[in-house]
Chain length 527, copies 2
Amino acid sequence: MTEWKNLDTLDSYKKLQGLKNAVDLKQEMSGENGADRVRQYSVKMGAGMNYNYAAKQVNADVLQTLEELASEAQLVEKYKELYEGAVINTGEKRLVLHQLTRGQLGADVVADGVNKREFYVEQQNRIADFANKVHNGEIVNGAGEKFTTVVQIGIGGSDLGPRAMYLALENWAKANNTFKMNAEFISNVDPDDASAVLNKVDVAHSIFVLVSKSGTTLETLTNESFVKDALAKAGLDASKHMIAVTSETSPLAKSDDYLAAFYMDDYIGGRYSSTSAVGGAVLSLAFGADVFARFLNGAAEADKLSTNAKLTENAAMLDALIGVYERNVLGYESTAVLPYSQGLSRFPAHLQQLDMESNGKSVNRFGDFVDYKTGPVIFGEPGTNGQHSFYQLLHQGTDIIPLQFVGFKNNQIGNDVVIQDSTSQQKLCANVVAQIVAFACGKEDENNNKKFEGGRPSSIIVGDKLTPESLGALLAHFENKVMFQGFVWNVNSFDQEGVQLGKVLAKRVLAHDTEGALKEYSDIFNI
Amino acid sequence: MTEWKNLDTLDSYKKLQGLKNAVDLKQEMSGENGADRVRQYSVKMGAGMNYNYAAKQVNADVLQTLEELASEAQLVEKYKELYEGAVINTGEKRLVLHQLTRGQLGADVVADGVNKREFYVEQQNRIADFANKVHNGEIVNGAGEKFTTVVQIGIGGSDLGPRAMYLALENWAKANNTFKMNAEFISNVDPDDASAVLNKVDVAHSIFVLVSKSGTTLETLTNESFVKDALAKAGLDASKHMIAVTSETSPLAKSDDYLAAFYMDDYIGGRYSSTSAVGGAVLSLAFGADVFARFLNGAAEADKLSTNAKLTENAAMLDALIGVYERNVLGYESTAVLPYSQGLSRFPAHLQQLDMESNGKSVNRFGDFVDYKTGPVIFGEPGTNGQHSFYQLLHQGTDIIPLQFVGFKNNQIGNDVVIQDSTSQQKLCANVVAQIVAFACGKEDENNNKKFEGGRPSSIIVGDKLTPESLGALLAHFENKVMFQGFVWNVNSFDQEGVQLGKVLAKRVLAHDTEGALKEYSDIFNI
């Protein structure tokens, strides 16, 4: 059995605190030493991707101490307990099984009398069968016509992850002739969200995927009504246009209101659900079940690499521990995620949920407040767009913000132009490379306004191309990174009690059960 | 004349430092006192909007000291100098005249022999005339057919602001029968961005707006080539499908390659250019020139209110100073922008550029490094989506992050459903109201995991509906807030030297003029 201890009780952490000014990044990244670091500080992530941490503020001493920390905090042992079915989500008393949706890393996990790997695979197979029938015209609308659009109705993890994955593969699928159906997403309770999507799509040829684990998510049920209204107004039978993704115990399961229902369970957290039926239904419908299977394979590869106890061979664990060093020793409060790939335009928004909702906690697994910082703020936009926006602050602002670059050697569509002797793809890659060195090494100038102090750390994830496999590996890398950081901080990364109070108060507002400030604000909005 | 002094040399700032723990927000927002604050701590922003700061960590003492700071730092005097044509952008030795695009607040500004207000109005009129001709079929494509789509090609300020404004008004315009043309945007040098947009639009009926002040922006010129290739492949004459928005001295001005060219000048910074021809062309084409004029009127209203020396009657200045108090006295490092309006989905991305590129600086106007924090990290997503994502950290994380809510009493499209006795719009408003109180007041619980410490400050901007006028006021509010903060921090908010080094190094990579780490990274990407 493993022991769950607060970070500040670990000897290796105390040692790490002594290494605060161990690395002069500007110096380390200069000359041949810098070149050596770029060659050596690279680790495989799966699906042909590499995590390169040459421009992080680490050296052999720091890495050695981080490895001791990984060992003392029993990180891979805890990961093993997780994927073999321990009750890692202690607050909600649940197993944490999202890795089982894409592979079997250890012993069989049987819960509620069911082999959970078999259960997830069964759902994938049911989805694949359903998607194939939609694509080949066996499942059609009331007029016997093929569906051309899939619309996901969900919020949070039922929206951000699947949407980011859809956008990441949309152009790839079109370029590779595996694009089956356009996907749209309705999430916000703002009625303009559903209205705008419904005004845009051809509802008669749309299939709607209602996603809610509990079957009680207010936003999602409200938006379901919007959709049902629109279908009714078009003279269509809603039950012929909707499927549900939910838990088997939810009110949405086994209902005649839906063409079909596909299941996840309580052991898949919303923000970890892209590889479950939550992502599976919409992605299989949009791109085909084969593409979704390839995405899962990429994730499984990354999961496997995350079992390695050797820190410098385990990209997710290394990324996690460098993040802890930056947060708890160097004192950095936020992290920017900067993918140099238009396909990853909403990937930062997904990571924002994944990371901030998992580790934005102040109490440990035993309910005691911790005395150290936990999850940072995560934000980001694609490069090169960000360079023309907030990079000014990243380069010359008064805070240091660690950067996570992502780049690919090739674009997805394959169309390009040569301007000034280089392609757009070359310009894109040249820019991300240039940024890493600019941030790390800076530049002297007599005019302080044109001076770059450097010493600003970054890492880069490099892939050949953004494909289903590399996207899967990228997703799993960050899921595992966040998990390892939660282990280090000794928090429960799998609940979200911080979202409850707002829900309770909103219900009181709607019931006009308010007083004081809450009543005044309600009056302002005429609620 | 005003004096430009570092913040930490001001007496009022020293006094402010003594007020670090002056306000117990949880206490202040409880009971009738909280209700009083909500009623009293509200100030007009223009266009029917109000800035409510009841849930900020301020009281009469803090506000009094902030007013002294505003006076000592001569904020409204500096604003007056700015809009009357002083060289406020000292680094680039330029005037700062974006307010003149929407009104004349003071004396005439004549520069380069031209009355600048007249110049900007002339461009607006030329754009209005052009847009009207496109809409009524006087300006048509080569086949004599009407244009149906406008595609903006630009990056940074030529993309984020106009795109956010377009999305903010798209549904409003459709609901109000002023929607003229669909707009799309191409920004990234990633070739997949241009390819995807070009695959999506009907190029034969598209008019492209090339936006680059200098006419030399690499991303934009590269994407222009993409578009010209696509037009040529479709057998179309590019010069009949493109217009330029640029400075009169740029290579794009007065070129036969474009149907028309509309001008801004060096006195309009990219991130402040939404109300200039940069936003004017695309928004007038999409929604009609009248809508753009209404948007300018809203901005002008907010500008006028920002001239008021009384702090509690000047929403932008108050917002700015509370932000300084939070950043430099309370020590908060980032700010979340949370619009409860789907139309404002990309407004946070625009503010991210506006704020971080303006005030993410470490040197003052005289080129000396400052000893205090300047611009914070800005991030955000629309509510209620964010509630199901990163709000966990905002409520229960180990850092306090000030929040800027925005909400409207009514939605834009007007379509709604009643579920559980309330409309979606009521649910949306109930949620934002609930969040303010949840963050401020928290909740006790025996289980620490379910405990909310509260004391987390927010403000809310409340409007009746997101219209051209209210959007204009919202935009100008934040432009003026950022300007006032720049004055307080004594930085130049109008240059962006921090973007230069990356450009220089990227050019070296493309020229294969690299060594050390830069060469190694280039090799990884096969550049």
